[in-house]
């Protein structure tokens, strides 16, 4: 049986870069445990010799030629316009490296 503690929730939230309120932490502790409990029924099945399916299609990587294609100024502007903060043609964030 899955046992989820508040500490687990805080640890996973940090991995996922999610700020949670106290109320959310409490709620998710209970809910995640209940959901994982339900999911634990999969352990009834013997899958020792079963290969995993990550994808239903036999996927091959698709390569394109390693050639530069030009991005029009119009598209560049459309992309940058969506940025929360910018400086010229750059996305702007807080200093990363001291």
């Amino acid at each position: 049986m899955a046992k989820i503690t508040r500490k687990d929730v805080e640890y996973v939230a940090r991995l996922a870069r999610l700020e949670l309120t106290d109320a959310e932490k409490e709620k998710f502790t209970v809910q995640l445990e209940k959901i994982l409990d339900y999911i634990d029924q999969l352990n009834k099945l013997d899958t020792k010799d079963t290969p995993p399916t990550s994808h239903v299609l036999p996927l091959k990587n698709v390569w394109r030629k390693d050639e530069l294609s030009q991005c029009s100024g119009e598209i560049r502007e459309a992309l940058l316009k969506n940025a929360p903060d910018r400086e010229g043609n750059f996305f702007k964030v807080k200093k990363v490296i001291e």
């Binding site: 949670l20 809910q31 994982l36 399916t53 969506n82 940025a83």
Partner: protein
């Protein structure tokens, strides 16, 4: 005339526009009028593209009047789920985090629809990032079921389903990751189809769970869905999971008769917990198909009961990776933080709604060190068993019939506090995504309370014509699709 326009199917409307009996502008105006009247009650749209639609319609009319070649559905208005990109228009995914996002390019399906001269009338509401079965998880509003405004329209493509059901659009596009087209189609009494995984390009569809997501049509008739499917299908180099197989002329295929068609009835889908009236409607539908020459037999899909558990590991795992891009740097909402880490955490904590956070947490947990094999690894293996169930079944039968959902639409708020109960409303639609096969929901009756019931037809990979044909002959011999909600 206006009422007539709203009652035409998309194919009828296109024929009239091409024959110049009616202009695309007139058709668009009729639908905008209907939206003005009905939308305040139903709330199917996030954005109505009034100006743009009228301009597009005018362009199509001009093309036709000059005798230029136009597409088969030229001039017909279409509603688009708000997780597909249309250049220069907002695309929100019904999330606060993308509230002000403007699409910089067209999704592959949008490009195809533009080439075929369809007119985009609006962007429809969904559960945030397509996560949900009721549209209650939208950050903006809950869409109402046009048959009963106190009930959910289903989800996540609830806005698209409700817009077609309430005649605010003749056709629409949705996306289906675990039933998000078929379940709302069932709840709203319209046709909704999930094509085979790889049939329709996902380029420009905002990703939820990439190994499961697929775009598909909503309509009031099978013929319209077949036509729309043909329009959006086909290989696209920009989607590495797009499959290069020929696209049949579905509208010619679906008219072939049902003699000799082998229909499987999986015993695992007719279980306790299945609503009695839903069960009766589906059983009546089976009789209709038998009378048309189809042969039915009971089959077994033994791993069905594990599908929801597998799905709620695989879909949240993929989602937790896909949604990592919403970090407040390149687009979307940004919250203030003292440093970069704090900015990420606050942006995501405040930008995402509860269900999205819950799934990111579930996915991150299943993929985290120490739990990966026990959860994600295990779920992938059981996914293989579910696929094999269908491979075995399709050796004996051509299509499989089931109810689309275990119950009719439930009341708004009924399952909002119990995520697991909400997840279980997808119990009959999820396996189809895990196996990558096509599925369709077609109206097959009403409950005594006047709520629609849907019949699900599942088919072999890339044999959409089989399920369309089955649904088409069923529809032709029943009257359900002729009813409209009084909203």
């Amino acid at each position: 005339m206006e009422n007539n326009i709203l009652n035409f199917t998309a194919v009828q409307l296109a024929n009239k526009i091409k024959a110049k009996e009616l202009s695309s502008v007139e058709a668009v105006k009729a639908y905008l009028g209907r939206i003005e009247k009905t939308e305040p009650k139903v709330k199917a749209f996030v954005t109505v593209l009034e100006e743009q639609a009228l301009k597009q319609a005018k362009d199509v009319d001009e093309k036709i009047s000059k005798g230029k070649a136009v597409g088969e559905l030229a001039g017909v208005p279409i509603a688009i789920k708000d997780n597909m990109l249309i250049t220069g228009t907002p695309c929100t995914c019904s999330s606060k985090i993308l509230k002000n996002y403007v699409s910089p390019y067209d999704a592959a399906v949008i490009e195809k629809l533009k080439k075929q001269d369809l007119v985009f009338i609006g962007k429809t509401n969904l559960d945030e990032f397509a996560m949900g079965s009721s549209t209650e998880n939208s950050a903006f509003c809950t869409t109402k079921n046009p048959w009963n405004l106190e009930c959910i329209p289903g989800g996540s493509s609830g806005g698209s389903a409700a817009s077609v059901s309430s005649r605010m659009a003749p056709i629409a596009l949705g996306s289906d990751t675990g039933g998000s087209i078929r379940q709302p189609a069932s709840c709203c009494g319209v046709v909704g189809m999930k094509p085979t995984y790889g049939r329709v390009s996902r380029y420009g569809l905002i990703a939820f769970a990439s190994s499961l997501d697929q775009i598909g049509p909503f309509s009031r008739t099978i013929e319209d869905s077949a036509m729309l499917l043909k329009t959006i299908s086909g290989y696209d180099a920009k989607d590495s999971t797009s499959v290069d197989v020929p696209v049949p002329d579905y509208n010619a295929e679906l008219k072939k008769d049902l003699k000799g068609l082998r229909i499987g009835l999986p015993r695992e889908y007719f279980i306790k917990g299945l609503d009695k009236e839903v069960e009766q409607s589906v059983k009546n539908a089976i009789k209709v198909l038998e009378n048309l020459g189809a042969k039915t037999e009971e089959i077994t899909l033994p791993y069905t009961e594990y599908a929801v558990a597998v799905y709620y590991i695989i879909a949240p795992s993929e989602a937790s990776a896909n949604l990592a891009r919403y970090d407040g740097v390149k687009f979307g909402f940004r919250a203030h933080g003292e440093d970069l880490l704090e900015m990420y955490e606050k942006t995501r904590g405040r930008g995402f709604g509860a269900e999205v956070k819950r799934r990111i947490m579930l996915g991150t947990y299943s993929l985290s060190s120490g739990y990966y094999e026990a959860y994600y690894g295990k779920a992938q293996k059981v996914r293989t068993l579910i696929r094999r169930d269908f491979e075995e079944a399709f050796k004996k039968v051509d299509v499989i019939l089931t109810p689309t959902a275990p119950t009719p639409a439930f009341k708004i708020g009924d399952k909002a506090d119990d995520p697991l109960q909400m997840y279980l409303s997808d119990i009959f639609t999820i396996s189809c995504n895990l196996a990558g096969i096509p599925g369709i929901s077609v109206p097959c009756g009403f409950t005594s309370n006047g709520l629609p019931v849907g019949l699900q037809v599942l088919g072999k990979p890339f044999k959409e014509e089989d399920i369309l044909k089955t649904a088409y002959h069923y529809e032709k011999n029943t009257e359900w699709h002729k009813r409209y909600p009084e909203v």
